[in-house]
Each structure stands twice: as structure tokens, then as C-alpha cells.
């Protein structure tokens, strides 16, 4: 079975309570043909374990790498992936769309 949104966010809470560093990535804008709609979540912990998706698997690797930075720094990041972008070309958002992904740390206040 696929992970539902609820399972994804519950996993993030459980990881955080277990003492893991956790980041939440969210698709916040899409242009053209995008595989996942705005609002889609990917959660990542400091082991590099992740659940959910922000694309059809095209850019998750890059988002996980950035998320590990966000977990370390605590500073949120806004990432953009699109065909015109050389980085995205490398990681291959091949559907022709552009997406923006907001990555933030889940932290005790």
C-alpha cells in the first residue's frame, strides 16, 4: 500500500518524538505539467529515510539532500525544479513542468 498523507505526517511526528532531526518538504507552486499537486508532502529524517513524494520520483533525491542541510541549519529553503534549470535537468523533471518546493525543519519551539 502507498503511504497516505496522514501516515506521512504521523511518521514525521513519531520521528521527531524519537529524537530524530526531521524536515518537511511541501510542493507550494506548480507550473505546466506537474506530477504532484500543490500541498503534496515529503518527510525526511536525519537518516535520509523519507516518505511521501513531491514529484513522480524525479527530484526526491535532490530534495532529500537539501532537507538534510535544512535539518542541520534549521533555516527553511525554497527550491525550484524545472526543465530549464540545469540542476533539474540533471535530476530530471522530465514532464516539462516547474515546481517549487518549500523545505522546513520540524523543531521544538
Amino acid at each position: 500500500m502507498l503511504n497516505r498523507d496522514e501516515d506521512i505526517l504521523q511518521a514525521a511526528e513519531a520521528w521527531q518524538k524519537a529524537g530524530h532531526g526531521v524536515a518537511l518538504a511541501t510542493v507550494v507552486e506548480t507550473w505546466g505539467s506537474a506530477p504532484r499537486p500543490a500541498g503534496s508532502n515529503l518527510v525526511i529524517n536525519d537518516d535520509g529515510t523519507f516518505l511521501g513524494s513531491v514529484s513522480g520520483g524525479c527530484v526526491e533525491g535532490a530534495v532529500v539532500t537539501e532537507a538534510l542541510d535544512v535539518i542541520a541549519s534549521g533555516e527553511p529553503k525554497l527550491l525550484e525544479f524545472g526543465v530549464a534549470d540545469e540542476t533539474a535537468w540533471n535530476v530530471g523533471l522530465s514532464c516539462g513542468g516547474t515546481i517549487r518546493v518549500f523545505v522546513e525543519k520540524v523543531a521544538q519551539s
Binding site: 498523507d5 496522514e6 505526517l9 504521523q10 511526528e13 521527531q16 500543490a38 500541498g39 518549500f102 520540524v106
Partner: protein
């Protein structure tokens, strides 16, 4: 995101209450607004619009870019009737992430052998339905072909304003159902909400194909903001 915001988000979702998370993309500041508090919120028009559409979106307010992430409850499917079509419908709906419950007072039909891994209640709708806390985010399907079972169940679905209400039966059967329900005080508007004959017209014949046509119609009702094109909604799974 603050850990307590995430905890509240999970609590609200577990209780099947819609929430919207507002994030200022420039600095990551956030607040979570419960549906019950939309009315008092400065962004109430935007919040209500996005929840109605079930769609997350970026909005610009006073030059600030705010992302409104809509967390609506997971759709559920309640099937009245542990019949052959339901045996195909239940696993299909589960693969589409619906929480599925099957209700049928006839224990010969509602048996775990026929419905492995599905929540099954072998009781009359009047007994079974109140405990299920059916809400707007529930698709409701009545497929027993037996008015004694389907009719009271449909009354419950109207009361709970389910986003999809479908009933098996030919046009003739459905017209008779209309006479019975209206005699019990059901309004024209409520009766018109019933999708009958149930399912999109894809020429479905087998129980599995009918299940596909029903889930396609439910998906359209859930995801398409407008009504489905007339040529797709005219149907034939009697």
C-alpha cells in the same frame, strides 16, 4: 514547522476535522487554522474558497506570499450491501486510499470469508450507521436492491450530507425509490443528489467493471469542482 503545530495537525486529521496550514514562504512563519475558526480569520474568504475546492494554493496578501495547505479528511466509502459488486468495490476503493466499511444485516452476505480485510458490520443501517460518524467526506453507496435496507440508509446519507450518494437500480427502480423516499419527506433536492443508475457509463458488465465505473464517478465528484459532463453521467448499471 513547530513540533506542536505538527501534533495539532495530526490530531485534527485523526478526528476528521479539516484544517488549513498558512505558511509565509519568505520566512517560514506559520499558523494552523481549524475549519471551525475560519469565520473569525482575516483570510476567511480565501480559506473558505480553498477548502471548498479542496485545493492548496499560494495567495498574495499585502505583498506577502502565503501558501495555504488544505488538509481535508481522507475520503471514506460506506457500502450498504455485502453483494457481489461490493466484493469488487471494497478492495478497489481501498487501493484508492478510501477507508471502507460494508454494512449488511444479512449475515449470509456479510461474512468475513466474502470480505477479508474489510470493516464489516452485519447490522441494519439504523443500528450500524450512527456509530460510524458519517460526514461530508464520505462517499455513500447503496447496492442491496432491497428497499428495506437501502432506503433508511439513504435517509442517513442525506442527513450527513455525504459528498457522493449512489444507489444501484434501473431508472424504473429508481423512480419507485423516489416515490417511497418522497413519501417519507425527502426533498426533491436531496433525492436529485442520488446518482442512479450508479456509476459512469463505461459499458460496465462484470461486478469488477461496475466497481470501476462507481469509483470513477466518486473520483469525479471528489476532484472535479464542476459537474461532470452530461454525456459521462448518463449511465447504465441497473
Amino acid at each position: 514547522m513547530k513540533a506542536e503545530t505538527l501534533a495539532t495537525l495530526n490530531t485534527e486529521r485523526a478526528a476528521r476535522r479539516p484544517v488549513i496550514l498558512i505558511t509565509d514562504i519568505s520566512d517560514g512563519t506559520q499558523r494552523l487554522v481549524k475549519a471551525a475558526d475560519f469565520g473569525a480569520d482575516p483570510l476567511h474568504a480565501e480559506l473558505e474558497k480553498q477548502l471548498r475546492m479542496g485545493k492548496s494554493a499560494m495567495v498574495e496578501v499585502d505583498g506577502k506570499k502565503l501558501f495555504l495547505n488544505v488538509y481535508a479528511p481522507t475520503a471514506r466509502l460506506v457500502i450498504i450491501g455485502a453483494v457481489h459488486i461490493s466484493q469488487a468495490l471494497a478492495p478497489l476503493a481501498r487501493s484508492l486510499d478510501y477507508d471502507v466499511t460494508v454494512v449488511d444485516p444479512r449475515t449470509a452476505f456479510a461474512s468475513p470469508e466474502r470480505f477479508p480485510d474489510v470493516k464489516l458490520i452485519a447490522e441494519w443501517p439504523d443500528e450500524a450507521l450512527p456509530g460510524l460518524h458519517i460526514d461530508h467526506y464520505t462517499a455513500f453507496v447503496a447496492v442491496t436492491h432491497d428497499p428495506k435496507i437501502d432506503d433508511p440508509a439513504l435517509l442517513h446519507a442525506f442527513e450527513k450530507n455525504c459528498f457522493y450518494i449512489g444507489a444501484l437500480g434501473s431508472r424504473k427502480t429508481h423512480a419507485k425509490r423516489g416515490d417511497r423516499l418522497k413519501a417519507q419527506g425527502v426533498s426533491e433536492a436531496d433525492f436529485a443528489r442520488i446518482k442512479a443508475p450508479i456509476g459512469l457509463n463505461i459499458g460496465a458488465v462484470s461486478p469488477s467493471e461496475i466497481a470501476v465505473s462507481i469509483m470513477a464517478e466518486i473520483t469525479a465528484e471528489l476532484r472535479m469542482p464542476k459537474t461532470i459532463p452530461a454525456e459521462l453521467s448518463k449511465v447504465s448499471n441497473p
